[in-house]
């Protein structure tokens, strides 16, 4: 009896609470101004010294030593250049920044400079809510359009209503780069007597030869799921080329039910059935695969440059492994899926936009790029004389990135197409390579998500 009584009460109270909310009638998010157009700066001052004494609050998430040191260094240089400016740097880890940023941006005293994660869930959502400043006027004033290739700027661009990525206004500027490509173990290739492949076609021809010698051709671990996106990109992008790939990802042209996607899917499924990739890859961590490759247990590792550290520490050392991006046919222009670091952006409600823009201009300048290079970071646009020690993996990555930037060959990660595409790709690649789904079902599932997308969230 007693139990039932309390049950009824709590049900009634919940109902009361719900009704209170209904009566209040506030639609979630109604506290926001959703006007994207008023955030365009009108009069721009580039003379920071004339702005008087001010404190610039900068929120970033660069907690890893190399880039964090670079920023500290650049902040000091900026303060020395403009003694009237004091920089208050707040560093938070990625997940912390992500959860607090939404709140901070909508407050009346937001930080002056932030790092916005690109994609629908973050940058596009902020833009839709009118929380970021359109950097277009600053870009033309400071010449950022010349400084960064269009393929990079597209990654920080969103339509003002937040419905499309890759076009519209520029809302961020990124200073570091990353890409997905092919790592090769020099010792293993030597032992099999194979030269470094120069194209996807050569790579494919090498795989059975390596397998025949009893060596694992490709170290691949997909338990953490994101490697699925990267592997599919490595197989697909060279076939499409930068322009078609970029149009496909940003919904300008193309479909995922195309011959190229079929070929790429067949390739991945074939690698799995022929045993060219690590057995049990769906239950193997990507880091474990990178380590095995670094130890010389496989000839290739296909993945992002962020695996460099794991590969070197596993035993490949500074020069035991090399890195390259493979075009479909030798000599084709380079194309690779990749990205730029988080976009440095200015909250719409910041009252020090001119100083903030000057700061972003400073860290993305040639001086910023050389500072990043000094700290072993991959700058978005490497300086002309950027060079690491010949024969090292670092040098391979730097020179490949330089060539890619010159070829304007960067393509956004495929999962940027729709808010749900990441989940769709990773689960279907696991199913395709795990043998529970055929190529036709795979492309159909991808296309269903892709074509069902109506824009934004």
């Amino acid at each position: 009896m007693h139990t039932k009584h309390t049950m009824k009460w709590s049900a009634a109270l919940a109902a009361v609470a719900a009704t209170a909310m209904l009566l209040a009638g506030c639609t979630p998010g109604s506290g926001q101004s959703s006007s994207g157009s008023t955030d365009k700066p009108t009069k721009i001052t580039t003379d920071v010294a004339s702005l008087g004494k001010l404190t610039l609050t900068v929120w970033d998430q660069e907690t890893t030593p190399g880039i964090s040191t670079s920023l500290d260094d650049l902040n000091k240089q900026f303060e020395a250049k403009y003694p009237n400016v004091h920089i208050d740097r707040v560093v938070r880890s990625g997940s912390d920044l992500r959860t607090t940023l939404k709140l901070a941006l909508s407050s009346s005293t937001p930080p002056d400079v932030i790092q916005a994660n690109q994609g629908f869930a973050d940058m596009a959502a902020y833009v839709k809510a009118g929380l970021l400043t359109d950097l277009g006027p600053y870009a033309s004033r400071y010449g950022w359009t010349k400084r960064f290739p269009s393929s990079q700027r597209a990654l920080d661009s969103v339509t003002p209503d937040g419905s499309k990525l890759g076009s519209g206004n520029l809302y961020g500027l990124s200073i570091t780069g990353e890409m997905v490509g092919t790592f090769y173990n020099k010792k293993v290739l030597d032992s099999v007597g194979l030269p470094v492949p120069k194209s996807m076609e050569e790579l494919e021809a090498d795989l059975p030869k390596i397998k025949a010698k009893g060596i694992l051709p490709i170290a691949f671990g997909d338990q953490d799921k994101s490697p699925a996106v990267h592997l599919l990109g490595i197989a697909l992008m060279p076939q499409l080329g930068q322009k078609a790939a970029s149009q496909l990802i940003f919904h300008q042209a193309g479909t995922f039910d195309s011959p190229s996607v079929h070929t790429a899917a067949d390739l991945l499924a074939g690698w799995a059935t022929k045993g060219y990739v690590t057995p049990g890859f769906n239950g193997v961590n990507s880091n474990t695969a990178a380590t095995a490759f670094g130890q010389g247990k496989a000839a290739f590792f296909l993945g992002g440059v962020w695996n460099q550290d794991a590969i070197q520490k596993a035993g490949a050392g500074d020069s035991g492994a090399g890195f390259t991006v493979l075009p479909q046919k030798a000599g084709d222009p380079l194309v690779a899926m990749g990205g730029v670091g988080m976009g440095w952006a200015i909250p719409a409600r910041s009252k020090k936009k001119d100083a903030a823009a000057a700061y972003i201009d400073f860290i993305s300048s040639a001086k910023g790029m050389t500072t990043l290079e000094k700290n072993n970071q991959l700058p978005a646009v490497p300086s002309a004389d950027a060079k690491a020690e010949e024969g090292t993996l670092t040098n391979d990555i730097l020179s490949t990135w330089s060539r890619l930037t010159k070829d304007n060959g960067l393509v956004a990660y495929m999962d940027w197409s729709t808010p749900t595409f990441y989940d769709t790709i990773v689960s279907n690649v696991q199913s395709l390579m795990g043998g529970t789904e055929n190529t036709a079902a795979f492309t159909k599932a991808l296309q269903a998500d892709y074509s069902g997308f109506g824009g934004g969230n």
């Binding site: 139990t3 049950m7 109270l13 919940a14 009361v16 609470a17 719900a18 009704t19 209170a20 909310m21 209904l22 639609t27 979630p28 998010g29 109604s30 926001q32 959703s34 992500r98 959860t99 939404k102 941006l105 909508s106 629908f120 869930a121 973050d122 959502a125 902020y126 839709k128 809510a129 009118g130 929380l131 937040g162 997909d222 338990q223 953490d224 799921k225 057995p279 049990g280 890859f281 769906n282 239950g283 193997v284 961590n285 474990t288 808010p419 749900t420 990441y422 989940d423 990773v426 689960s427 279907n428 696991q430 199913s431 795990g434 529970t436 789904e437 934004g456 969230n457």
Partner: protein, 316 residues
């Protein structure tokens, strides 16, 4: 305290309740008003931090919302999607499988273990054994996940042991295989929950008068007969507690899945709590995430009410 004393105490426990009922009958009106005053502070607290957020969550679940910009009213659209979207219904099916591994299996194993330990009367090191079996309860779920990832790894403990016994054909990447991933995740839950159930059951058994066991044995009851005729009937209260706790643990599983498989391979280990996280923080679909949260809450409420139904009235 002797067993008899403990049993005696257990038997007298309903006493004060009875007195209370008698006492209130004499002056019912005064009690009502004062009671509300006493309850008021706690109620304000609960209203502000539980009821209001619950109401807010229910409200949000009727919208399509990315978390910041203006939301769009969709009525029961999210609820319709939750029961029709195969990706979401699948996750509820997975959690049903997990209930077997998190609740049914550990309770059965713990019952047998408890009965064995009880028969072994004064087993040396029984305390140490209990502590060891209970230990997983104290370890953070993320740590447990990491430990089991290495056990299930291609060259992990499980496969190594299988190879030692010449069962090399049975080895596989347990968490990466479509047919074994969900049971593998479930067995982690079994491992964790056995300890909790065992401790609950041993406490329950210690309250059964020893004479009952002795009498049963004099009458020639074996292990199973004793289990079903003496132990089990006396354990109804601890059983319902164990069932409630483990079923709730199964329904809200998130951390272990997040660490071990991330819902993969494919979508073979997705669970509702994982979907809530993914929808809200990765896909920016806060309304949909809240809807799944509400459905999960209602499900937990219904199931715990059902379990309380089968529990003896005077023990909870």
């Amino acid at each position: 305290m002797t067993d008899q004393a403990r049993a005696a105490q257990a038997h007298t426990s309903p006493g004060p309740d009875g007195d209370g009922v008698a006492a209130t009958r004499r002056r019912p009106r005064r009690r009502d008003h004062r009671a509300y005053l006493y309850v008021a502070p706690a109620f304000v607290f609960v209203a502000a931090f539980v009821l209001y957020p619950v109401g807010q969550a229910i409200w949000i679940s009727f919208f399509r919302w990315d978390g910041i910009s203006l939301a769009t009213w969709v009525g029961i659209g999210n609820y319709v999607a939750a029961v029709t979207d195969p990706a979401l219904t699948q996750s509820f099916a997975h959690v049903a499988v997990l209930v077997f591994f998190y609740a049914v299996l550990p309770i059965v194993i713990a019952l047998v273990l408890a009965a064995l330990l009880q028969r072994a009367a004064r087993l040396r090191g029984a305390g140490i054994l209990q502590t060891l079996i209970f230990l997983p309860q104290v370890i953070a779920a993320v740590v447990i996940g990491v430990i089991w990832v290495s056990i299930y790894a291609p060259d992990g403990l499980l496969n190594t042991v299988l190879r030692i016994f010449g069962l090399g054909v049975a080895t596989r990447t347990w968490l990466g295989d479509f047919s074994t991933a969900l049971p593998a995740v479930g067995l982690i839950g079994t491992w964790v929950e056995i300890g909790l159930c065992l401790v609950l059951f041993l406490t329950g058994i210690s309250q059964i008068p020893r004479e009952l066991f002795e009498a049963a044995r004099v009458d020639g009851a074996g292990f199973w007969r004793e289990l079903f005729s003496v132990t089990l009937p006396a354990l109804r209260a601890p059983l319902s507690v164990a069932l409630t706790l483990t079923v709730v643990a199964a329904l809200k599983t998130f951390d272990v899945v997040f660490v071990t498989t991330g819902g993969g391979p494919g979508t073979s280990t997705t669970v509702p709590a994982f979907q809530v996280y993914n929808l809200a923080f990765n896909q920016g679909r806060v309304g949909m995430a809240t809807t799944i949260g509400i459905i999960l809450t209602v499900l937990v409420l219904l199931i715990t009410m059902l379990i309380r139904r089968i529990a003896p009235k005077d023990d909870l």
